[in-house]
């Protein structure tokens, strides 16, 4: 591989530290209620793309679908060192489900010429569907190498260590391909002052549905395959039961667990 043309998918999500809630009207994410940040797993995806670029040369383009506020996440990625960005923003996208999102992202990626590798996070910390990378690979007709904890490119081949609860699998595929990365992949770099200053001069292309040739009626909450019908916060934890150990502590714990049908 001479130089690599890498696309990274990033998403602006509510900060996991702030209170997250859904709107009362349509049960979509209340984006005004929480501080928005670039999803941490996406920072790792950006980092991995930058490492590949540093090793092989080339270009990193970040692609983000989201409201205007997504520009913060885009700028963070550009400050870290990504070269360009594509921002897909259209009011009609509000409430889109994972399949619709994957379709839109696929159309956007097709507008970028000669893509060698698409890097994404395994799952976003807000929706947590974790399905986009696989759907995207399917739509683009590319091999998918998901849950990577290590990524290597040699020649025209990408090799990945895939880590799931079942263990570690070694995967390889011809480029172009879609890779999704997990928490253990790397430690994302901090954007330096020079990176932050340079970011504002980097090109950001904003695309609407019209630019992608997608009919607004195909996307959004009304046309979604799935939608949230109802939501309620987890009930607060009860006070718990206090057991005074009078020599029979072990027995009482087992009795309790048995009563809860846990043993």
């Amino acid at each position: 591989m001479e130089t690599m043309n890498i696309v990274v998918l990033i998403k602006q999500v509510p900060d996991t530290w702030s209170e997250r809630k859904l709107t009362d009207t349509d049960h979509t994410l209340d984006r005004d209620a929480a501080d928005a940040v670039i999803d941490e797993i996406n920072e790792r995806a950006v980092e991995e793309a930058l490492l590949l670029k540093e090793a092989h040369g080339g270009k990193v383009t970040v692609v983000s679908m989201g409201p205007d506020r997504a520009t913060d996440a885009i700028r963070k990625a550009l400050s870290m060192g990504a070269d360009e960005a594509v921002h897909i923003s259209d009011a009609a996208l509000h409430g889109s489900d994972t399949i619709q999102t994957a379709k839109v992202l696929a159309s956007a990626i097709r507008t970028i010429e000669g893509v060698d590798l698409v890097v994404a996070g395994n799952e976003a910390t807000d929706g947590r569907a974790g399905a986009i990378p696989a759907m995207l690979a399917e739509l683009l007709g590319l091999p998918q190498l998901t849950h990577a904890r290590r990524v290597e490119v040699e020649g025209t081949e990408v090799r990945v260590e895939r880590e799931t609860e079942d263990g570690i699998t070694h995967l390889a595929a011809e480029l172009p391909a879609v890779v999704s990365v997990g928490e253990k992949i790397n430690e994302p770099r901090y954007p330096s002052f020079k990176g932050i200053m340079a970011a504002k001069k980097k090109p950001v292309t904003t695309l609407g549905l019209g630019d992608l040739g997608i009919d607004p009626s195909e996307v959004g909450l009304a046309a979604a395959f799935t939608s949230v019908v109802e939501s309620a916060p987890k009930p607060p934890r009860g006070a718990g039961e206090r057991v005074e150990d009078q020599g029979d502590g072990g027995v009482r714990i087992v009795e309790y667990l048995a009563a809860q049908k846990l043993v």
């Binding site: 901090y190 002052f193 990176g195």
Partner: protein, 391 residues
Amino acid sequence: MARPPMPDPLALLDIDSLLTEEEREIQRGLADFLDARARPGVADRFERGVFDRDLARELGAFGVLGMHLTGYGCAGLGPVAYGLACLELESVDSGLRSFVSVQGSLSMFSIWRYGSEEQKREWLPRLAAGEAVGCFALTEPDAGSDPAAMRTRAVRDGSDWVLTGTKTWITNGGIADVATVWARTEDGVRGFLVPTTARGFRAVDVPAKLSLRASVTSELVLEDVRLPDTARLPHAEGLGAPLSCLNEARFGIVFGAVGAARDCLRTTLDYASTREQFGRPIAGFQLTQAKLADMAVSLGGCALLAVHLGRLKERDRLRPEQVSAGKLNNVREAIGIARECRTVLGANGVTLDYSPLRHANNLESVLTYEGTAEVHTLTIGRALTGIAAFR
């Protein structure tokens, strides 16, 4: 149920709303970096009296060193972004901000502003990267507030210069690769770039400070140090040159003091809401709230003043007596806040587990260096009355 305390007391006046998107990004980016790389272990470094040389390289890679200068590997930040960076650095420890101020605003600025092209190319990229450390030597044992009384001499010998004298209280002195040394010549005060490997040059660290312990302070002894004329800063003529460098660094202190005070108040708000006496959090007592409210108002005022001076500097309209007003007010308020916070922490406040007394001790130096509070008072007095009361 009570809400948790305000995480950032500067939010009381929404100081953030005065900043541009880019300024906020610079501030947040550095704060995150410092939380991960500098804050852990800072109390321990203060206790042991050591400076973390590796951190200097990391700060260089981040673009913090000489951040407000342009070219030669410097980031080129605007004045307010530069100030906010000082604020975040000093919220960790005044010693860390001192290192950065001396490196960027005294050592690098003196070269950037008064140096030859060769001097800039030789030193600035390495200083910006944190590969080399710089220091700035003006003060002498018998010339503090009155630098015109300096005795260090540079005498011509053929085409060379020979420097003799003693400088003291020099931040970074013992770890420096290059010293900007100010000396008296036949034609008045001149500046020289002295490599610390030069023959006749010696640095002796001040051993047991009770303040700025995580920063190196040294005495520099120059015994017939021979330098070529290319070591002289060609564009520096007279005492105005070193004083202009100090003005740059002082501007950073105006913001830095806000950072130290913010850290004290944050720590104290947190403590007061969890520490219970007489069956309730001590934050619930009116006397405690009066302290907290007064401190938050004062802190907000300091931040407003800092940002205002920054905007004046952006337009090249910042006058020295305005910097004096900022330094005098903000350091005085910050040390007051640090001490008051200590009282809210009770006995815990006298340990290194909590930052206020460490900050208060550090601020004793900040009150004194870069012009003492008294000297800045007289500078403002002169601007107001037209009468110089220094001598």
